[in-house]
Symmetry: C2
Subunit: 344 residues, 2 copies
Amino acid sequence: MTETMKRIVLASRPPGKPGPENFRLEEEPLPQPGPGEFLARVIWLSLDPYMRGRMSAAKSYAKPVEIGETMTAGCVAEVIASNHDGYAPGDLVVAPLGWATHGISDGTLVQKIDPKAGAPLSAYLGVLGMPGLTAWVGLNDILEAKPGETIVVSAATGAVGSLVGQLARLKGMTVIGVAGGADKCRYAVEELGFDACLDHRAAADAKELGKQIAAAAPDGVECYFENVGGKTLEAVLPNMKTFGRIALCGMIAWYSGAENPAPAPVVWGAILRQRLRVEGFIIFDRYDRQPAFVAEVAPRVADGTIHYRETVAEGLENAPAAFMKMLEGGNFGKQLVRIGADPA
Amino acid sequence: MTETMKRIVLASRPPGKPGPENFRLEEEPLPQPGPGEFLARVIWLSLDPYMRGRMSAAKSYAKPVEIGETMTAGCVAEVIASNHDGYAPGDLVVAPLGWATHGISDGTLVQKIDPKAGAPLSAYLGVLGMPGLTAWVGLNDILEAKPGETIVVSAATGAVGSLVGQLARLKGMTVIGVAGGADKCRYAVEELGFDACLDHRAAADAKELGKQIAAAAPDGVECYFENVGGKTLEAVLPNMKTFGRIALCGMIAWYSGAENPAPAPVVWGAILRQRLRVEGFIIFDRYDRQPAFVAEVAPRVADGTIHYRETVAEGLENAPAAFMKMLEGGNFGKQLVRIGADPA
């Protein structure tokens, strides 16, 4: 069998919303690992909003993907050939192999998975992976969230938001989610245990959504875990209590310039008047917190205390469509693409 | 002699820039202090940008001035009659008596001035008063500024900014001011000792001003003391280093809706990408820091290390015009109004 490797490359940069024309599927002979490298076959591919940023040439916290280069992604993969002392065929890893069926790695940013831990492999891309660490760091290190406080979580049923809310509940906080659609809101309250969840699509504008937040949090909001920007941010700001804190983790509503943005003074004025503290954070800076996170959260995943949900697309070919749908909020929980079979 | 009291009241709320029609001079018999109160005659009146906010009915950190009510202000005054155990005729005080020739106080938010300290009375409204404390708290408590770091200070020759920059220089920081006009910039460098000062009026747009900041701070900016918003903020943001800090103290460029504001994602995106920490603060929350501030800064004022400058308008009648001019940046240093003579 002459196996080939397939990958999806950036064909062109989108000016706004990405379209199918921005991606191209390429196929080539399977590469062989050089000295100190291993070759792995991808089992699960993770799709995340930050990838939209990598498609642009604009200055960002990470280098943009070049035209013709494989789209960036974290993967769960199985080592199938190795010249690396630390990895042997059959090892399972989390590794940044990109939108591809196979990848070569020298071990940089690779984590081994312990299959005896009993967690499903896909969880290492979600609740026990980067989104989980993001939720945990944002809640504990950035927001310094305390029992008894009220938190608003946007993108409440997403990979990050759903864990933020559950960890906040376990901490003894009042949790108000904001999500798009009645189904997501029902899920947040009934399955994730949020105190309330508001549907931003059902609210005519930021003002109306703001009133709903005020009704759910009559004493105001101490913490806001910000994933979206846009209408939700505008609705939360007037509800922030004096000395409130905002963890700025994402602004998906604005990534593609889709939503008509508020003027800057709306944000700046609230920070000033209400003496807010806003901190932007990027999880790539915070991997030193991984051990503390896994120690606290893995048992809660194993015993079923923490719920999570996945949206799975099948096959590398469908990654671009799944990605575009996710940017519009069409996924429900962590967005994955199944690339290969589980190990035997 | 039947003395009268004059005061300036809010006649109407300005939709944008305040005009003369928003103020009204009233005259009435001199009030007498009730039990536990004193009457004082005003010597110096302080004009500050925050007063623009008080003229609007919008939610803010302080109650708006009501229509027909005396405009808010801090004053240096001499007690002339007293039923208050703590104050006797002849005592000099800093007190919130408003835009008026006289005022009644029960001692709330009143500070006594020790005339033996030898500082000019007007300094207690500026470099040793609220603006001075604002500068000191912003630099030390909010920015946690460190020797060797680079700071940008907007409104660099204003009452707050000029002290921020001088304290930062004393701390061993590189100080880049931004001010309106060549005279102010020359003053910042030649008299206040800033490393550089950029004229935002001479820069065509935020991009050009940003390039000038980049040239003055080729390694980037760790701290931004934000007084203005507007073009200056847009110019500073791309120059902020990863993990930089912004103390948000004012946004005068946007108070009257005068400047065409950037969209919110410009600000939000920079905070996220560059992982900035932004904190709004209001000096009224921080008066517990007054003793530490005075202990450190008063000797520096007394020995002439710290320079300051005042713009003085003469007479209560001229307060509205001086205030409107100040909002447009027409003042140079702390804006004061001389109301009465120094004590004999």
